[in-house]
Each structure stands twice: as structure tokens, then as C-alpha cells.
Symmetry: C2
Subunit: 330 residues, 2 copies
């Protein structure tokens, strides 16, 4: 299989907790087709796989190809990913995906081309390292601030994935005995900074009478969840509850990411994810400032960047998995 | 210089906050001479270097050689170590060592053999990886629980030192806005678990009337600081204050080391340092238990070990720096 179709377009799918982003890229990694579908919240992994195939098909048609003409499709998935077996187990933040599911085989069947699975956060980090904000550096931490808070690590030019689950920076403890996280544990950074936790806390405070426009903006936009754009809008209006919860999120990110930096001492930190990309440069700098009081080497803080590939980084990174070199490596 | 004296004994010095441990090892790393001196608390780096040379000379005489017959002397030092320049800047937990000091040149002058500097915690971790409890593994975190809490990292068989200050696990934040650490920051793991912080908190509680035998034991032993053995004795007597402070230290180590494991996902954790070695296996297991509630991959916790080289690991690791291979590498 190696060597064939090396110039053919490749597909990439970023499977997120709220959306599925599919892209088709050319040999130079330029995006020539894209589609975004909401992640199904019912129907389990089968429904999610069907929605992924539909998004990929739409992106391929936009690029003017059928999916079986793609050199392959890469997938960045949450959960416990086994790239060799093509399976994903207990995908966090996705409903009804506790057990193992043969996502690779399901997509290959639907799309007529080979599927390559990888960890969502790691492929997005690899994309920033190779094509985005991380290009000038040899070591990098990707901080993906969205539904949860994920981390991807590149050390001395190579991804570090440990025994398979390295980079779980969202579950760095920032306050022993603190807020309960979506993972069930107490005091994780994600319990303060993950959008799912922030929404839970906002709903609770709203019910208790806290003044906020968050839910009004949500209804105006016909949404049922507090998407990143809603937080952004509320912040611009100086909404007191949104401001308070985002301040606490930035404080937690400051402590948690500084802790990780004290351990890894990387050259640069790239902030991505739904909230990270939406809130942009100003918030990457705010996180950098919030890190300073906790940074051991505060005379040499790491460079702070927003993910240069933006919202599409995860999908573009996934498409890297479908390169001929990756085919040979598998 | 390379290739000469490859079979000659090598020296190793572990420079700690309270003691200087020197060893002489044979080509098989067996210890053939050793000496331990207290770390001078007056006279700055010059006094410390003189005490290091005295300890090394004593260890060499025990091994039946003069120091100028050693193939070289390795040093594991705290602070900002520049191995190429042979300098150490702002050595933490040592008094009067804020600026840069040419420790390498000073020791070479006193000992008549080449000195090789390295980070104290990293050389101790390398020693456990190569010769001690870490031998079965490819990735490792060394947790050195003593005056402070230091960390050494081995990933895929190689030390990871970042831009020079990786592994500062003592300054992982376990409680935003928590206790003040010796480093001046708030809520660091070391603020709860470092022996210097524990002593500060014990003195404060004692002054406020807390019941404890810690200071009685200290006086009986003719000490002015709460050394590891004093904590051990007090714990065995079920001293209430010692028990409370050690419980809090273990809780902080559990959260902080679990945070590091969530990021690195290494195969094994080796607990060393003055307190780690003194309290031994039972406490390494207690730290492992305290990690579990915070461990993302709690179904696959890392293996927990006590440093197999014990108190001498730092000095034996330092002696690794003086191997001919290291000479060539420099």
C-alpha cells in the first residue's frame, strides 16, 4: 500500500465533544474541502461514526473527490485510542461510548479508504508543531481549552505519549479537595477551566439567582449548551457571572499549566481548543500572566501562542496520520 | 583525556541542603570509600566547596587512593548547574549561594582531578535508572523527598531536562492560594511535603502550644534541625503533631505526584531523598495510595519503588558523570 496515492488528497476528522470537523487537504496540507457536523448525543458510537462519515463525505465532495479516492482518512479521537487495532474505548465527553468500538473498521467500510486513528489532542499538537505556531521550537506543550482541557506534548521534536495516556493536563490537581470534575475526581484543573464544568457551575449559580445573560444569549442563538461564542459574547458585555467563571478558569489554567511547565520546561506553549481559539491572543497572554506566580523559572517563561491552525488544527493534524509515511509506519 | 584511567576509581559527591555525601567507586560502581560531612551554613560557596573537598579526600583515603589518582569526580548539585562552564548559580536550600560560583574549578584545584557537574536530582535519578530500582523500566520519575522535593525524569531511556530546569515537581501547585513555600510561592507541593517546610510548620504549631515530642527528640540527639530520623522516631511514638504533618505531606505528595504522572504517564516512580529513604517501603506505598484518587489512569498506576541505592544514590549517580564516556561527551 505504501507509496501509492502519495499525491492524492487526504482526509482528516477531528472528533470533539460537541462537533465533528472534517477536512480534505492536498499534498501541501492546504484545506481544499471542509464540513462540520454536531456530534450526536444519542445512538452511541454507531451514530457518531455515521455522522463522521457524513461529514467526511461532504468535505470530499466540496474538494471535488469521492471518499474512496482519498489516500486515507486520519481521525483524532478522544478516549483510549488503539491505533493498531483501530479501536476507541471510553471516549470521554461523548455519551454512550463507554466500551470498545471498532471506529477504524466502521469508517473504512463507510468511506472506502483506509482510516488511521490517533489521539485528538496529540494530533492537534503535532499539527501545530509541524505546520503551526510550534514550528520554531523543539519542545512544546499544546493546551486545548474546550469542553475539557487536554494536553499534547512534543519533546526534542518527538511526541511524548507515555504508556498511551500522557498529557492529561486537565486532571492536574490545582486544589486538593476542590470542585468536582466531570471525571469524578476533586480539584482537577478541568473542574474550573473546562467548558462543561463552567456550564455546570453557571447553571447552578443561575438557578441560585446569580445575574447573567449567558442563558439569554444561548436561547437567542437557538443553542442548548454554552458554546465558546456565547462565553465570548457574554464577556464582551461584562456579564458578571461569565466574567467571574472565566477569571476562575484562567486562575486554574495559570496554576495547572505552570505546574506542567515546572515539570517539562518546554520552549513554548500553544493554546488551542474551542475556547482557546475563540478567546484568542489576549487570553493566551492572560494565561501566561496567571502562570507567572507559580512558575519556578519565572525569569524564563515559555513563549505563549494561540494555535495558528485555529479550529481546523485537530482535523489538519488528523490528516497528517494519513500520509504515506504513516501508512508505512503502521 | 578520553580513554585514560578508565579502570581507575571515580569520585562522586552529592551536595545536599544538610549534608555532603562523598563516595569513591570502582569500575563496577561498587562503593569502596565514603564520607559524610554536614553542609556548612556559613561562609558561602567557598566554605561549601572546601567541605566537599574534605569529604572527597576522606572517602578517597578510605578507598586507599589519593584524590589526584581518581579518574575524575562527579558532583550532583542543587541550583542552576552549567556543566560546560563548571558553575552553579543560586543553589536552593544552601545559605549565601545566590550568585554564580565556579564550583568545578574550585574542586579541580583542591582535588587535582577533573570535576564534572550535574543536577543533584537528575544524577540520582540516572543512578536509579541505570543501577537501582529503575533498571526494569524505560521511563521513570524520581521523587526526592528531603529538605525540598525534587524530581528527575527519564523518558524512553534518556534523561529529560528541558531547557535546564525540568523536573521541579516540588513546585507543582497542589492548592491555589495555599501555604507559602520556601521558594516564596503559594501552594507548592513542597510547602506541605518538604522537610524544611514541615519543620517551619512544626515550630509554629509548637510555639502555639501543639503537643509534640519532635523538639525533645531533636535535643536528645544534639541536633538543631528536624532531621529525617527525628520524624521517623516521632512517628513510631505516634506523636500527634508529627503524624498530622506527615499525613499532610503524604496527601500533598499524592496529589502532586499524581498530577505529574497524569502528564508524563511513566512506567515507574522511585521515591528517594532523606525522608523517602528513611521512611521506606511503607511510605512509598502510602504515597501510591494517596495518588490513586487523583490518577487519571487509575487502572494502571505506575509501579512504586523506594530508591534501591538509598542514601548513597546521589553520590553514586554523581560518580557516573566521571566515567570516560562522560569525559568524551564533554
Amino acid at each position: 500500500m505504501s507509496g501509492t496515492n502519495s499525491g492524492a488528497p487526504r482526509g482528516g476528522i477531528d472528533l470533539g465533544g460537541t462537533k465533528i470537523q472534517a477536512v480534505v487537504v492536498g499534498p501541501d496540507h492546504a484545506v481544499i474541502g471542509q464540513a462540520r457536523h454536531p456530534t450526536p448525543t444519542e445512538g452511541g458510537p454507531e451514530a457518531v461514526a455515521a455522522a463522521m462519515a457524513a461529514a467526511m463525505t461532504e468535505a470530499a465532495h466540496q474538494a471535488g473527490v469521492e471518499t474512496d479516492a482519498l489516500a486515507g482518512v486520519g481521525v483524532g479521537s478522544p478516549g483510549d485510542v488503539d491505533p493498531k487495532a483501530g479501536t476507541v474505548t471510553s471516549a470521554r465527553n461523548l455519551t454512550g461510548w463507554e466500551g470498545e468500538f471498532a471506529l477504524g473498521a466502521s469508517l473504512q467500510e463507510a468511506l472506502g479508504t483506509r482510516a488511521h486513528l490517533g489521539n485528538d489532542v496529540q494530533v492537534a499538537t503535532d499539527a501545530e508543531f509541524e505546520l503551526g505556531a510550534g514550528r520554531p521550537y523543539r519542545s512544546l506543550l499544546g493546551v486545548f481549552w474546550g469542553t475539557g482541557v487536554g494536553g499534547g506534548i512534543v519533546l526534542d521534536g518527538r511526541p511524548w505519549t507515555g504508556r498511551g495516556v500522557a498529557g492529561e493536563i486537565g486532571h492536574v490537581v490545582v486544589r486538593i479537595g476542590g470542585e468536582r470534575c466531570g471525571c469524578g475526581r476533586l480539584g482537577c484543573m478541568e473542574a474550573y477551566a473546562g467548558r462543561a464544568s463552567m456550564e455546570r457551575r453557571a447553571r447552578h449559580a443561575h438557578k441560585k439567582g446569580a445575574k447573567t445573560d449567558l442563558f439569554k444569549i444561548m436561547e437567542e442563538r437557538g443553542r442548548t449548551r454554552l458554546m465558546s461564542g456565547i462565553w465570548d459574547r457574554a464577556l464582551r458585555r461584562n456579564d458578571p457571572l461569565a466574567t467571574k467563571l472565566i477569571d476562575e478558569a484562567v486562575e486554574a489554567l495559570g496554576a495547572g499549566v505552570a505546574s506542567v511547565q515546572n515539570v517539562l520546561d518546554v520552549e513554548a506553549i500553544v493554546v488551542g481548543g474551542g475556547l482557546g481559539v475563540r478567546l484568542g491572543e489576549a487570553f493566551a497572554m492572560r494565561i501566561g500572566d496567571a502562570m507567572l506566580p507559580h512558575l519556578f523559572d519565572d525569569l524564563h517563561p515559555p513563549a505563549m501562542h494561540v494555535a495558528a491552525l485555529g479550529d481546523l488544527g485537530g482535523a489538519i493534524g488528523a490528516a497528517l496520520l494519513a500520509r504515506p509515511a504513516s501508512v508505512r509506519a503502521v
